[in-house]
């Protein structure tokens, strides 16, 4: 495997200062506050191959952003080894900077009173891109992200979705081999989210860019990534392909039957009725105990079916299950 990212026993500990509430507590805290070790990441190990699209997810405070910051060389780890494109991020931060891109949702790299084109020109100088290559690259990204009409508009006048498209273009100008995305669709409307996801897919497909994404929006994960690493309290709780994850955790299916009868008097073990009225019978089927075809066969004995729909539970449900499982351990 041609590894783009290699992490071995990575740990990061912060020192937190405990203080006391209230005014007197604050004064007391000046003299008696205690330092406490806070483990953000503990013995993290994984590898990511070049071109992979990995979702790095977990509840708030799981250590996702801390890991990204170590991978991009912003933070020094407390212990462990990291290699990104063969470089040690915190030691070779500037050399690595030429090969990676970062997108942080709701944080900006564009100059507020100037049009995005000015920031793009500046970044081409910072990344030392040959003027002709820059011109071609920018043209390519302008058509891919459809930002021609935004190029000369001051950033302060752009909508959040428009700005995010420009932010991603800014991060891609130097053709990074790895793109780190931290909540890239946060705050965007549904159309803008769909557009960003589509663009990331095309980027990965056309250019083989490795994507490392953190997001609380499960649709980002479902529509962009093919591997999921789940982190909680600084530990990896799951690392598998999206397909396997669904197979493991999606033991329930949602079955919708449209029938002639007003409602259906069906009672079986392993099914949970969600709706039963207006010619619609919707239930959750536990396929580990009751096969779907058995439910349909039983329904056919009682009525004539006009339509059948079988759905997987949402990715959100899978994630909820994952987090829940870990918390119960």
């Amino acid at each position: 495997m041609n590894a783009a990212i290699k992490i071995n026993n990575l740990s990061k500990t912060f020192i937190a200062r405990d203080t006391f509430p209230g005014i007197f507590g604050s004064i007391k805290g000046l003299f008696f506050a205690k330092n406490r070790e806070l483990i953000a990441i503990k013995d993290l190990s994984f590898e990511i191959a070049a071109g992979e699209r990995v979702a790095f997810i977990g509840p708030n405070g799981a250590g996702k952003s801390t890991t990204i910051k170590m991978l991009t060389g912003i933070l020094h780890p407390s212990s462990g080894e990291v290699e990104v494109l063969g470089l040690i991020p915190w030691k070779d931060r500037h050399a690595l900077g030429y090969q990676i891109g970062t997108v942080f949702g709701q944080r900006t790299q564009l100059w507020y009173h100037l049009p995005p084109s000015d920031t793009f020109d500046l970044l081409s100088k910072i990344y030392e891109i040959d003027p002709q290559i820059y011109k071609d690259r920018l043209q390519e990204l302008i058509s891919l992200f459809e930002i021609e009409h935004l190029l000369y508009k001051p950033v302060r006048q752009l909508s959040l979705g428009e700005r995010m498209r420009c932010e991603i273009v800014a991060s891609l100008l130097h053709k990074p081999k790895i793109l780190f995305l931290d909540e890239p669709t946060i705050g965007l409307d549904i159309n803008a989210k769909l557009m960003i996801r589509g663009l990331l897919n095309r980027l990965s497909k056309d250019h083989g860019t490795t994507l490392f994404l953190t997001s609380h929006d499960t649709a980002d994960i479902e529509q962009v990534c093919d591997r999921v690493i789940v982190l909680d309290k600084g530990l990896i709780i799951t690392d598998s392909s999206l397909k396997d994850l669904k197979k493991t955790y999606m033991k329930k299916k949602i079955l919708t039957l449209v029938m002639d009868e007003e409602h259906l008097l069906l009672s079986l073990s392993g099914i949970k009725v969600l709706e039963n009225a207006h010619h619609h019978f919707i239930c959750e089927v536990d396929i580990s105990s009751t096969p779907i075809d058995r439910v349909i066969q039983e329904a056919l004995k009682l009525t004539t079916l006009k339509d059948i729909t079988i759905e997987d539970p949402s990715m959100e449900e899978v994630i909820r299950l994952l987090y829940g499982t870990n918390r119960n351990v």
């Binding site: 990204i68 933070l75 931060r93 920031t119």
Partner: protein, 262 residues
């Protein structure tokens, strides 16, 4: 491409950005003129009555105007640095193949240059209109203006040093408050240092403040080669000292850095 060109590009863009942010320039100009009106009225009465100042009232108003010009022009770089850390923008800036310190300095320099030019014109015309006289040597004025740019640059270096304290404390305002008050007092913002008690004058000369404000402004009104030489040495020395401190503190700060968010 020479690496210095990266910083020149940032300087140029920051210059343009500050120009486009004309509302901020109008706000600063109004603030500056308000300060000058208050001090003009205050000193017309106080200086005439007390006679503690060696300058006449016209000279004193120009002295204050030269001080205020530089003081108001210095960008709040320390606040920008604190915001970079608090908002997590630092996560964008640090991985780039460019020095964060150098980029911040170039950006501050762009804003400082626009402020000094625009507020320089405002200060000159407004004070001339208020005072009605130009009681200084023309060469002295040019040297004061040139040293005004250098003084602004040195103030930016020290304010960046204050900005770096955010790496440890997340908050720069207490340090900046102390810096600003010391600059007002030991820099001779409202009164030339010569009227201070001897011990305060001695103390002030162990700090960069007089070179940034009072001594530099007094040069236009009391122009002589000795003062130019002293001021050149003082500004150069404090500039080098500030830069060394900045690099050392930055190196140390990077190791303990904890960028917000996550």
């Amino acid at each position: 491409m020479f690496k210095i060109q990266k910083y020149i590009s940032i300087f140029k863009l920051s210059f343009l950005h500050a120009l486009k942010n004309y509302k901020a320039l109008i706000g600063l100009s109004i603030f500056l003129m308000t300060c000058l009106i208050i001090f003009a009225h205050l000193w017309k009465i106080a200086a005439a009555k007390t006679g503690v100042v060696t300058f006449n009232p016209e000279q004193l108003l120009w002295y204050i105007a030269f001080n205020e010009w530089v003081l108001v022009s210095i960008p709040d770089t320390q606040e920008d640095m604190e915001q970079d850390l608090r908002s997590g923008r630092l996560a964008y800036l640090l991985p780039r193949p460019i020095s964060y310190l150098g980029a911040t300095f170039a950006e501050a320099l762009g804003t400082l240059t626009v402020n000094l030019f625009v507020l320089g014109f405002v200060t000159f015309l407004f004070t001339w209109w208020q005072v009605g006289a130009l009681p200084f040597h023309p060469v002295g004025l040019l040297v004061t203006i040139l040293f005004g740019f250098i003084a602004g640059l040195i103030a930016v270096i020290f304010q960046m040093l204050i900005g770096l304290s955010a790496f440890w404390l997340q908050e720069v305002s207490p340090f900046f408050w102390i810096w600003e008050k010391l600059l007002f007092m030991l820099g001779g913002l409202m009164l030339p240092l010569t009227v201070y008690p001897q011990w305060m004058q001695t103390l002030a000369h162990f700090t960069p403040f007089p070179a940034i404000l009072g001594e530099r402004s007094a040069l236009a009104l009391d122009f002589n080669m000795d003062s130019i030489l002293t001021l050149t040495l003082s500004l150069t020395g404090w500039g080098i000292f500030g830069l060394i401190c900045l690099l050392l503190v930055y190196r140390k700060g990077l190791r303990i850095l904890n960028v917000e968010g996550g």
